[in-house]
Symmetry: C2
Subunit: 266 residues, 2 copies
DNA sequence: AATACTGAGTTCATAATATGAAGTGGCGAG
DNA sequence: CTCGCCACTTCATATTATGAACTCAGTATT
């Protein structure tokens, strides 16, 4: 169970940080110690060390501890400097390792889909075809449909009217109405499928990646042989987890209602 | 020097986290160990423990370590749930303890200034006066001027035209032009002063608090006897630090140019 | 007003554990 | 093929985190 060289005191410190993160109003040493089953003295030493580094703040009057400004600013500086590629490559490779399929990280640039990173899998699927020049394929692949689905209305509308809904296979969506229905379905379920719409024999699953402002800035996706239809649900799960993880690394927080929470006042 | 019960391994882990936060592209175990002067094995144990908790991510191919999604999401959840009061009260109390003066945390609600939290100091200053009903005092106090100064133009303009620039003392700013000049100066220097503009004998220093979107959502301020003019510069420093710290806790990152960095692609 | 709680922070002997030198295995360069 | 580099593991040992008991201060109870 325990990996080699697990450092206990650090593990405890992480427990404390996790606990404090879930308690915006702050906690006393005693509360932490009791909840986590630590000795009060040990807890105090740990918290005090964290406080010395600004990872934890203490209210000088109530003596309650709370997540510290240093930790918050550290993470936020990291998030604002990190780019999609640096953060996404690792999880996409893990997705490839878990699924065995080729996994992709894609973004929308201008009106073209762009593969930021690709981790080639061991399962053999043909995923490339001669690219008709000037023809966008946003409507024919899972990642393209995902990027379209989560685009703000004012950007999606012009794109939809100008994009040619070229047919690639018998399954390609070729009418604006069908496409709108499909995009709505994608938003409702949180992932997109490609059922041999771009290349016969090729199936895909894609899920949206959000940044800290809740904008869909990328997709995670895998391509697998359409013949292995029974793997679909498992892949949906994996792709969703991967996308959620990259989103979290970008500072995305799933919100209940709106984003105004952050600025609310007691 | 070392506070009681300083836990070394945790301190080292914090060093590692700080280092990783400054390296969005990731670092190898060796690089970390060399830079921090740790044994490679020790470093590996620490990093491995952090990885086990998701505080650090490892690229499965390059094996480079990077700040982990769990840590990022933890902090961002904390930030979006925490409110100004919970985060600001501690630092404001510390400001009071450092300065000896009464310290305030204020916000703008509708068109009125509202004291979210007040830490009463030991230095005696009269800070209250009979409040003329219906009369706003945004233009007469340091925190009010700060809130006005950092308001987006479209919100400031209507407020400035509707606010009555009532005179409270001989030093009160009473013309729209003077006020505009003052607000510009406040934005340029990053803090505001009140030179007996509201109450004779009362001086104030205020600095803006920003949230993660860069909006000024509050101010930190202190009130001190105008007779102690020589303390002004020291107070400006303290108030500025306090405000910066609260801003950092709210997820604010001072940005070089614009806020689009977060969404940039490699 | 005196007493008993409760909780933060400290102390210190000791058991527990992080440490780091040396070693393994895997990968890439020459 | 060999060498060197690096992530990772091992394990004996010295370092260090641990926790029972304590102090101190504030607050509730009698």
């Amino acid at each position: 169970m325990t990996p080699t060289g697990h450092i206990r005191s650090l593990d405890k410190a992480v427990d404390i940080i996790e606990m404090l993160a879930a308690a915006p109003r702050g906690l006393s040493v005693r509360e932490i110690a009791k909840a986590l089953g630590f000795n009060a003295s040990t807890t105090h030493h740990l918290v005090s060390t964290l406080r010395g580094r600004g990872f934890v703040d203490q209210d000088p009057e109530t003596r309650a501890y709370r997540l510290g400004y240093r930790l918050v600013s550290l993470v936020n500086e990291f998030v604002s400097e990190a780019d999609i590629y640096a953060i996404g490559a690792g999880p996409i490779r893990e997705l490839r390792d878990r699924s065995g399929d080729t996994a992709y990280l894609t973004v929308l640039q201008d009106r073209e889909i762009f593969v930021v990173f690709e981790a080639t899998g061991v399962n053999p699927v043909q995923t490339r075809r001669p690219r008709p020049p000037g023809q966008s394929c946003l409507h024919g692949i899972a990642s393209g449909k995902t990027l379209l689905a989560y685009l703000p209305d004012e950007r999606r509308a012009p794109l939809l009217t100008s994009v040619s809904l070229a047919r690639f296979t018998p399954h390609t969506i070729t009418t604006p109405h069908e496409l709108e229905m499909e995009l709505a379905a994608i938003r409702a379920q949180g992932y997109a499928l490609d059922r041999e719409e771009w290349l016969v024999g090729l199936a895909c699953v894609a899920a949206p990646v959000f940044d800290r402002n809740g904008a869909c800035v990328a997709t995670a996706s895998v391509a697998y042989p359409a013949a292995q239809g029974e793997r679909r649900d498992a892949l949906i799960g994996m792709v969703g987890e991967t996308a959620a993880r990259i989103s979290a690394s970008l500072g995305y927080v799933a919100r209940g209602e709106d984003a105004a929470d952050a600025a609310r006042v007691a």
